[in-house]
């Protein structure tokens, strides 16, 4: 259980470990992109953790990093092709960042720090925990940026309920602070969130 929950707050990949920043800031202009990126990364993380913890005794130590990268890159390619086939709109709006999951430090970091020295079952739990932590952080950043920057919250459209997938926030949608959806806003939001988390941890520590 500890493996599952540590990624959500105590070892949160984005806010505590400060890893995998590029996708977390680049794609979080809309909530739906944040969810898509989070789930995609979690898929690659789970698959690569399983593979690496299975192969950990086979891979020679001298070439373990290139070997891990090949495993990760293969799963990223699978994910990229799956997304192009089944969710083309999401794939188009994430663009080059789907392929850039390869160099997301979280995945190589977990392979190196956890999966290479633990069993398959623990590695799966670790990957799920970290993946959920990553997804939740992306959703949080995206919620703040989209609601302030565009006045909307974009989710998946559900046709059977007549839900277009976009919730407008009254008051904000007419006069949004556009800068939040731009790159400057992302860095500012990230800075304030990290400061807030530092403050909370400081209070706890006292």
């Amino acid at each position: 259980m500890k493996e599952l929950t540590k990624g959500i707050y105590r070892e949160n990949p984005i806010f505590v470990l400060v890893l995998g920043l590029c996708p977390s800031l680049a794609v979080t202009t809309q909530v739906v992109n944040g969810i898509g990126m989070g789930v995609g990364t979690m898929f690659v993380l789970i698959c690569s953790n399983i593979m690496i913890s299975l192969l950990k005794n086979v891979i020679p130590n001298e070439i373990h990093i290139p070997a891990y990268i090949v495993v990760i890159a293969s799963f990223v390619t699978i994910l990229d092709l799956l997304m192009q086939a089944y969710v083309p709109a999401l794939s188009a709006s994430l663009g080059v960042f789907v392929q850039l999951i390869v160099v997301n430090c979280i995945i190589l970091g977990r392979a190196e720090a956890y999966a290479s020295s633990h069993g398959v079952w623990d590695s799966i739990k670790d990957a799920i925990g970290m993946g959920i932590g990553f997804t939740l952080s992306l959703v949080l950043i995206a919620l703040i940026r989209e609601s302030l920057g565009a006045g909307t919250i974009t989710l998946f459209p559900i046709e059977s309920l007549g839900f277009s997938g976009e919730i407008s926030i009254p008051g904000l949608v007419d006069a949004p602070a556009r800068v939040m959806t731009l790159s400057a806003g992302a860095l500012l939001v990230m800075g304030y969130l990290k400061a807030a988390i530092n403050r909370v941890n400081e209070r706890k520590g006292r």
């Binding site: 590029c22 890159a73 160099v103 400057a184 500012l188 990290k194 400061a195 403050r199």
Partner: protein
């Protein structure tokens, strides 16, 4: 696009760090002092330029003729990783002084999203070999510019009074955000005004 256009685009308008969020980890991690920022900047520019050339050749002369474009991600990351290793070995052999200056940053570059990012952008934008080379070089220079500016800000920040919760990473993000705001002054209109 002309070469000057590509240069201005990737150094100022679509600066890798400040507007495309590629290579943020070293932007926060290696920007604590000017010396390491300059070292990292040169190392990244060097690798990015060579990687742009090599990945372009691999894509157009190997992957397309063999009809295996879907192997793009795997081959690119392997190309970059081996390139970094090669550069490290060559520099170590022929220029120990340069190796001492760049050595510790070179292994970090493999997992820098910027290098893979610009290689993929070159292919997606349909650049030819020379344009790709120029884009890689300019993206590296833009990266170095942002990194050096950031490290100068952080050196200044050391003597400033910063609220305790904001110390370190949070204030670095906020300074980066304000810098990105300043860089918003460079937009596409600037390019059309400058070179028509």
């Amino acid at each position: 696009m002309t070469y000057i256009g590509i240069l201005i685009t990737y150094v100022f308008i679509s600066n890798l760090i400040l507007s495309q969020f590629l290579g943020l980890c070293p932007f926060i991690g290696v920007s604590k002092d000017l010396e390491s920022a300059t070292g990292m900047g040169f190392a990244v520019t060097f690798v990015m330029t060579i990687a742009s050339l090599v990945t372009w050749m691999v894509y157009h002369w190997v992957l397309i003729p063999l009809h295996v474009e879907y192997l793009q991600t795997v081959t690119f990351i392997l190309t970059i990783a081996s390139l970094v290793q090669l550069v490290e070995m060559i520099v170590q052999k022929y220029s120990p002084a340069l190796y001492k200056a760049l050595g510790i940053y070179l292994p970090l570059i493999t997992t820098n999203c910027g290098v893979l990012g610009i290689a993929l952008i070159n292919i997606n934008e349909g650049y030819n070999l020379m344009e790709g080379f120029m884009a890689g070089l300019s993206a590296g220079l833009g990266f170095m510019l942002a990194l050096i500016l950031m490290s100068s800000i952080r050196v200044q920040m050391r003597t400033e009074r910063v609220p305790r919760a904001f110390k370190g990473i949070p204030i670095a993000f906020i300074s980066g955000g304000l810098m990105a705001l300043a860089f918003m002054a460079f937009d596409k209109a600037l390019l059309t005004n400058l070179i028509g």
